[in-house]
C-alpha cells in the first residue's frame, strides 16, 4: 500500500508536465489515476469481505515507534472506495471544467496530492503517519480553496479553513501523543486491548477533548462549521470532492476509527451526540438565507455531517448501520449534485437558484443525473438515500433519553434538506425558464460521465443493497464496534412507523419549500446578535493576534538592523550567560595552552583587521577587512585539521564579499551619524559578547570530552557509510534527515530573500 501512495505522489508531481503536452484530453489521463487506485483496492474486496484484515508495515523512524503502518479493513476500504470512485468522477469532470482556468496543471497537482494523502489518512494505523496525512489534506485543501488566488475572498477563505483545521490538527496531535503515552505505542490497533486502561486513565478527559477538537474542526461541526460554506470559493470540482465527499468526512472517520479504542464512555458518546445534533439543526436553519447553489449544498452537507456525527454519538448497532449507509449515500448524491451545480454554473453563467429554471430541455442528461441524486437526498424509494433515512429514524427510535427531542430535530433538519434539494436539484430543471446570462447547452461528455456514474451507483445500491454494500457494512461495523451486527440491509421494510416518518419529512419538506420566503422572513427576524456567531469570534481572535503581532513587530523589528542585532545578542548573553555562571567549575578554569607561531600570527591579523573594520571610514575597506577575518578563520580550521570546514568557510567568505559588493553601490553615502554615546554602548555590548564567547570556549575545552559518537562515526563511516570522509558521511547518510531539514529551511530562506527584494522594488515604483 505504501508503494501505491508513493506512486500517487509521484504521479501528482508529474501532472503539470503531462498537462502541458496533452491539454485537450488530459481529463481522461488524469481520471485513469483514481481509476487505477480504485481497481487496486477493489481487487482486495473479496479478502476484506470475508473478514480478513490486511496490515503492512515499513520502517520509517523505528526508534521512535513511527512507521508507515497501513491497515485495510472494512472501514478503511469503504472510505478508500468512496475516495477513488468520487475521485474518478471529479478528475474527469475537471478536465473539461477547469479548461478556462490558468494553471490547470497546478490544480491537478494539488488535487492529486490531496487524493493520495486522503487515502493515506484512512489507511494509516500509525497515529503519527495518520497525523502527517491529516495535515497534508489540510494543506492541499488550503491550496485548492485559494486556487483563484487573485481574489481576496478566496485567499481569506483558504486561510480561514487552514487556521481552523490546522489548529484542530495541533489539538489532535497533542491528543494522539497523550494516547500513545498510555499505550506505549503509536499503533491504533494496539489500543484495542487496552480499552480499560485508557478509559480509566487520568488523562482520558484531556485525550477525548483534544482528539474531538481535531475531528470537529476537520468535519466542520458546530461551532467550527463556518469555514465550510466559505470554502465554496474553491472551483466546483474541489467542493464536490474535498468539501462534501471526502475531506470533511476525515473527522468522522477518525471518530469511527477510535470509537472502538477510546469510545464507549458517557463523555465520549454524549459530546459527539450533542455536537452532532446541534450542527445538524443549525446548519439546516442557516441554509435558508442562501440563494447560491453551492452555498445551499454546503449547508446541507454540514447538516448531514451533523447527522453522521450524531449517529456515532448514539453508538448503537443500528446507529452504526445507519451511519454507514448514510455515509455512502451522501457521498454519492452530494458529489453528483455539486458536479451538477458546477455544470449549471459553467453552462448558464450563474449559480443563483432564484433565476435558474426549466433547463431540462437544454441539459437532459444532467437533468436525469440531478433527478436521481435529488431523490436519493430527499430519501425517496428506491434510492440508497431512502434506506439511509429509514435507518437513521429507526436508530433514533431506539435511543432511551431524549428520544422525542432527537426525532423532532432529525425530522425538522431532514425537511429542510428536502427543501434545499428541491431548490438545488429540481427547480433548475423543472421550474420556470427565466432569461440567463448565457444560452445553455448540454455539458460535454467529460462533465456528464461523473454525475451520471455517481447517481446511477446511488440507484443501484438502493435497489440491490445486499450486492453493493452489505458485506462492507458488516466489516466496517466490526472496525467501529468490534462486533458483527448480523443485520441485513433491505430496501422495503413494510408499512411501519418509520415509513410514516419518511412521508412526514418529505411532505413537510415540500411544504417548507413553498413557504420558504415566509420562513426565511421569520428566521431573519430572529437573527441573534453577532456575538453568538462563531465566525465573529474567529475574526476577533484573528484580528487580535494580528494587532499583537504588529505591536510586537514595531518594538522588536523596527527596521534598524543594528537594533535587531543588539536584541539578539543581549538575549543570548542574558540567557546563556546566566546558565554559564551557574555551572560549577567556572572558578577553576586553568588556562594552559601552547600557542604556535602560526596561531599567534593569524590571531594578530584577525585583531588588526577587526580594528580596521571598526575604525575604517570606507565601506569597501571594511568589507575587505571582514573578508580577511573570515579567511583567517579558515586557516585556523586548517591548522586544527578540519579541511572540510576550511573549504566551506573559504567558499562562503568569497560569496559573502561578492554579495556585499553587489549591495554596496545601492547604499547611501557613508556617513558618520553615530553619537559617541551609542558608540560606547555598542563597544560595551561587543566586548561583552567577545568575553562571553571566550569563556564559553575555554570552559567547553577545559574538561575531557567523553563522546562515544566520535568513536562510533570513525569506526562505522567506511563499513556502513562507504566513505572515508566522516564529515560528509554524517551529512549525507548518518544524519541525512537533519540535512534534509536544513536544506529545506535554506530554500525557504532564499524565497524569503527574493520576496523581500521584490517587495522593496514595488515600493520604489510607487
Amino acid at each position: 500500500m505504501l508503494n501505491l501512495l508513493i506512486i500517487g505522489f509521484a504521479a501528482s508531481a508529474l501532472a503539470p508536465f503531462i498537462y502541458k503536452r496533452t491539454k485537450n484530453y488530459f481529463g481522461w489521463i488524469a481520471a485513469s489515476f483514481p481509476v487505477y487506485m480504485f481497481i487496486n483496492f477493489i481487487l482486495r474486496y473479496n479478502d476484506i469481505a470475508s473478514g480478513q484484515i490486511i496490515r503492512e508495515s515499513t520502517n520509517w523512524l523505528p526508534a521512535l515507534g513511527i512507521n508507515f503502518t497501513f491497515l485495510l479493513d472494512g472501514l478503511s476500504l469503504t472510505f478508500v472506495l468512496i475516495i477513488t470512485l468520487v475521485g474518478s468522477a471529479v478528475f474527469l469532470y475537471a478536465g473539461s471544467y477547469m479548461k478556462e482556468y490558468a494553471q490547470t496543471g497546478r490544480f491537478y497537482l494539488f488535487i492529486g496530492i490531496f487524493m493520495t494523502s486522503m487515502i493515506g489518512l484512512v489507511l494509516s494505523d500509525n497515529m503519527i503517519t495518520l497525523f502527517v496525512f491529516w495535515e497534508l489534506t489540510s494543506i492541499s485543501s488550503y491550496l485548492l480553496i485559494g486556487f483563484n488566488h487573485h481574489k481576496e475572498s478566496s485567499r481569506k477563505s483558504a486561510l480561514q479553513a487552514l487556521l481552523v483545521t490546522g489548529g484542530g490538527g495541533l489539538a489532535l496531535m497533542a491528543g494522539l501523543i497523550l494516547l500513545a503515552q498510555i499505550s506505549g505505542s503509536f499503533e491504533i490497533s494496539s489500543l484495542y486491548s487496552l480499552h480499560e486502561e485508557v478509559v480509566s486513565s487520568k488523562l482520558y478527559p484531556a485525550i477525548v477533548i483534544l482528539v474531538l477538537l481535531g475531528a470537529f474542526t476537520k468535519s466542520a461541526q458546530f461551532p467550527f462549521h463556518f469555514w465550510l460554506p466559505n470554502a465554496m470559493e474553491a472551483p466546483t470540482p474541489v467542493s464536490a470532492y474535498l468539501h462534501s465527499a471526502t475531506m470533511v468526512k476525515a473527522g468522522i472517520y477518525l471518530i469511527a476509527r477510535l470509537n472502538h479504542a477510546i469510545g464507549g464512555t458517557v463523555l465520549w458518546q454524549d459530546t459527539i451526540l450533542v455536537v452532532g445534533a446541534t450542527t445538524m439543526l443549525i446548519a439546516a436553519l442557516l441554509s435558508f438565507k442562501q440563494t447560491d447553489l453551492k452555498k445551499l449544498l454546503a449547508y446541507s452537507t454540514l447538516s448531514v455531517l451533523g447527522i453522521l456525527t450524531m449517529l456515532l454519538g448514539i453508538g448503537s448497532n443500528l446507529a452504526i448501520k445507519a451511519f454507514f449507509i448514510f455515509l455512502v449515500a451522501h457521498s454519492l448524491y452530494k458529489g453528483t449534485l455539486f458536479l451538477v451545480a458546477g455544470t449549471l454554473d459553467h453552462e448558464t453563467g450563474t449559480r443563483d437558484v432564484s433565476i435558474l429554471g426549466g433547463l431540462r430541455q437544454y441539459l437532459p442528461v444532467t437533468a436525469i443525473a440531478s433527478l436521481l441524486a435529488s431523490f436519493s437526498m430527499m430519501g425517496i424509494i428506491p434510492l440508497v438515500g431512502f434506506i439511509g433515512k429509514e435507518t437513521v429514524y429507526s436508530s433514533i427510535l431506539e435511543v432511551e433519553n431524549f428520544r422525542f427531542l432527537l426525532l423532532t430535530l432529525a425530522v425538522l433538519s431532514n425537511a429542510f434538506i428536502v427543501m434545499v434539494t428541491i431548490l438545488v436539484g429540481l427547480k433548475p430543471f423543472w421550474g420556470k425558464f427565466l432569461p440567463l446570462p448565457r444560452t445553455p447547452h448540454e455539458a460535454p461528455i467529460k462533465m456528464l460521465i461523473g454525475p451520471v456514474l455517481l447517481s446511477v451507483f446511488g440507484l443501484l445500491s438502493g435497489i440491490f443493497p445486499n450486492v453493493f454494500i452489505q458485506k462492507l457494512l458488516d466489516q466496517s461495523t466490526i472496525s467501529i464496534l468490534a462486533e458483527e451486527l448480523g443485520i441485513t440491509i433491505k430496501l422495503w421494510h413494510g408499512f411501519n412507523f418509520v415509513l410514516l416518518l419518511s412521508f412526514v419529512t418529505l411532505l413537510s419538506g415540500i411544504g417548507v419549500y413553498f413557504f420558504r420566503k415566509k420562513i426565511a422572513h421569520i428566521i431573519n427576524k430572529m437573527s441573534l446578535s453577532r456575538s453568538f456567531k462563531p465566525s465573529f469570534w474567529y475574526d476577533r481572535i484573528l484580528n487580535g493576534t494580528l494587532s499583537f503581532a504588529r505591536l510586537q513587530t514595531k518594538v522588536l523589528q523596527n527596521g534598524y538592523l543594528r537594533y535587531y542585532i543588539i536584541f539578539i545578542i543581549l538575549t543570548t548573553l542574558g540567557l546563556a550567560g546566566y546558565a554559564l555562571f551557574n555551572i560549577p567549575g567556572i572558578d577553576t578554569l586553568n588556562i594552559n595552552y601552547e600557542i604556535t607561531i602560526y596561531e599567534l600570527i593569524i590571531g594578530l591579523i584577525i585583531i588588526a583587521s577587526t580594528l580596521l573594520v571598526v575604525t575604517s571610514g570606507s565601506r569597501l575597506k571594511a568589507i575587505v577587512a571582514i573578508g580577511v577575518v573570515g579567511f583567517c578563520m579558515g586557516i585556523i580550521f586548517i591548522l586544527y585539521s578540519a579541511p572540510d570546514l576550511a573549504l566551506t568557510t573559504f567558499a562562503i567568505e568569497t560569496l559573502t564579499v561578492i554579495l556585499f559588493v553587489l549591495v554596496l553601490y545601492k547604499l547611501p553615502k557613508y556617513l558618520k551619524l553615530s553619537k559617541p554615546g551609542s558608540k560606547i554602548r555598542d563597544a560595551i555590548i561587543a566586548s561583552g559578547v567577545g568575553i562571553f564567547m571566550t569563556f564559553t570556549v575555554l570552559l567547553v575545552t577545559a574538561g575531557e570530552m567523553q563522546s562515544e559518537l566520535k568513536k562510533y562515526f570513525a569506526e562505522t563511516s567506511l563499513p556502513e557509510g562507504k566513505g572515508r570522509n566522516i564529515v560528509n558521511v554524517i551529512l549525507v547518510d548518518f544524519r541525512a534527515l537533519d540535512t534534509l531539514g536544513e536544506i529545506t529551511v535554506l530554500a525557504i530562506a532564499a524565497i524569503g530573500v527574493f520576496a523581500l527584494l521584490k517587495l522593496r522594488l514595488k515600493e520604489g515604483d510607487k
Binding site: N59, P62, T648, G721, G723, N728, V732, A750
Partner: protein, 138 residues
Amino acid sequence: MYSVILSTASRYLLPLILIFSIFLFLRGHNEPGGGFVGGLVAAAAYALYLIANGVEEAKKLLKAEPIKLMAVGLALSVVSAFIPVIYGRDFMTGIWDKNEFPVIGKIGTPLLFDLGVYFLVLGIVLKIIFSLAEEYNK
C-alpha cells in the same frame, strides 16, 4: 565598469571552476569536499561571470531558473530518501551499487542526496545574487 580582461578571463575560468566544483562534489565522500561546498564553488563561478559580464549574460548562460534548480535539488534529496523504501528497506537507508565506476566512484542513494544538496545550494546562492544584481541594475 566593463573590463575586457575580466570578461575574457571569466569565459575561460567558468568551465574550469565548474569542473573543479564537480570534482569537489565527487570526491566528497572520501576526501574533503561534498555537495554543499561543490554547490558554493559552482555558484561562485557564475558570480564571477556575472561581475564580469552583467546579470543578463549570466542568466542567459545558466539557462535554468535558479528557483527551478532549488526545486530539482530538494526533489532529488527527497526522492533519494524514498528509494530504499521502494526496495523494502528502512526510510533513508543508504543503498550502494556494488560496482565501482570510473571517475564517479561508487554510486548510491547518499550520492544522489548529495547531488540534491549541490543543486539546491547552487540555486539558492544564484537566486539571491541574481535578485540583488537585478535590483542594482534598476
